[in-house]
Symmetry: C2
Subunit: 233 residues, 2 copies
């Protein structure tokens, strides 16, 4: 019984990977870099994107900021999509609540269903804001180049030990809400040690989307992903 | 294809409900009240339980505190179980990471597998700390009497609108970390309005597990669930 269950899951992931590769091919043809942004609910993904979009205009003319598109994944509602559409970038909302109680992650087919609404030829960087969840989003590739997770310091030091796959699946961990550290019983060094135990050597970035601390490094990293993709086309 | 998928999910939930009823029968025979405690990762479930267990000893002798047991659900590790076992109550750890990347919720069969290790005849109240996730745990009954969720104010006002099933599935919403409100751009009234929009009339409790604010009301509610179950046997 246990074996059978694993087989079915494997098949589901095989099908997902097939569609993820098709998405990947479309992104490559258009020269679009794709970042899959994941976190627990309320870690600040949307606020970080708002702050990043606000920086686009201020960016150094010598290294022009990329044209962004955003796919928003939520169980229900389009609140985050509305917030981001204020910045006049193309935003496509995916809701995962059709039938059942709602899917807890985006999969490659959901992202594929959003692509006809996204002008891939007019953008250089697509950010996919996944459903807030530290487990399943890490299991489903969607055709992205880069996987990034945000962990808020308010969530405690122990999350890398309890949700190791998510930390292992990402090449960059953004540690957000560092402005709150003085008000928390959270040991930042222990959090960094636990992240490194889950994913040795993974890059970490300390950020406060609220105060703007660390935003330059984050935007530089994000914009650089787009420059690499454009250079490759 | 879409229809077939829904059918399979329904069958999975039917099987889950069958096992949940078997769990329920065992709890009833033993006169044990069961609380399913759910939240996003890092909302403070374990810390709230630590504070509740610390109160057990101080409780009024006229209304004796119940004997507790705890089932801990995590993808990986037993950090929370270790923290709670310090209070000399029976704690059973369920890890959901067998095969695959880990299940993002507890289901009735996982809880059933933990019952032989839990001395049901020696306890009056069983608290099941679910995997940190605002989506799937709400979809899987495990045989509980009461479903409670914790939402931390750091997660923002919009979570009831984005994860409505979780808020609708619970009879009590504990709003935790209220000590951080002065440091956040979060509107508590808007959060309360959004909770009421998702689940009209649901009881909300303002708590800071850190400072102890609101803990009396929470413990009184928790202990009262056990008294009702014992009275019914």
């Amino acid at each position: 019984m246990h074996m059978q269950r694993i087989r079915v899951v494997k098949e589901a992931l095989d099908a997902n990977n097939t569609i993820a590769r098709a998405n990947r091919a479309d992104f490559d043809r258009a020269g679009v870099a794709v970042v899959n942004l994941m976190s627990a609910p309320g870690s600040g993904k949307t606020t970080l994107l708002e702050r990043s979009l606000a920086r686009l205009d201020e960016w150094n003319d010598a290294t022009p900021a990329p044209r962004l598109g955003i796919i928003e994944g939520d169980v229900q509602g389009n609140f985050d999509a509305q917030r981001l559409a204020e910045f006049h970038v193309p935003v496509v909302q995916i809701n995962t609540d059709a039938g059942f109680g709602g899917e807890c992650h985006l999969d490659a087919n959901m992202v594929r269903s959003a692509l006809p609404s996204m002008p891939l030829d007019s953008i250089e960087l697509l950010v996919i804001e996944n459903v807030g969840n530290l487990v399943c989003p890490a299991e489903f590739k969607v055709g992205e180049d880069h996987r990034v997770m945000i962990t808020s310091v308010t969530e405690g030091e122990d999350k890398p030990l309890k949700y190791p796959l998510m930390f292992r699946a990402c090449e960059l961990v953004v540690i957000n809400k560092i402005d709150l550290l003085p008000h928390l019983d959270v040991d930042l060094n222990q959090l960094l040690k636990n992240i490194d135990a889950a994913h040795p050597g993974v890059r970490c970035m300390l950020v406060s989307a609220k105060t703007g601390e660390g935003l330059d490094a984050w935007c530089e990293w994000l914009w650089s992903t787009a420059r690499k993709a454009t250079a490759a086309v």
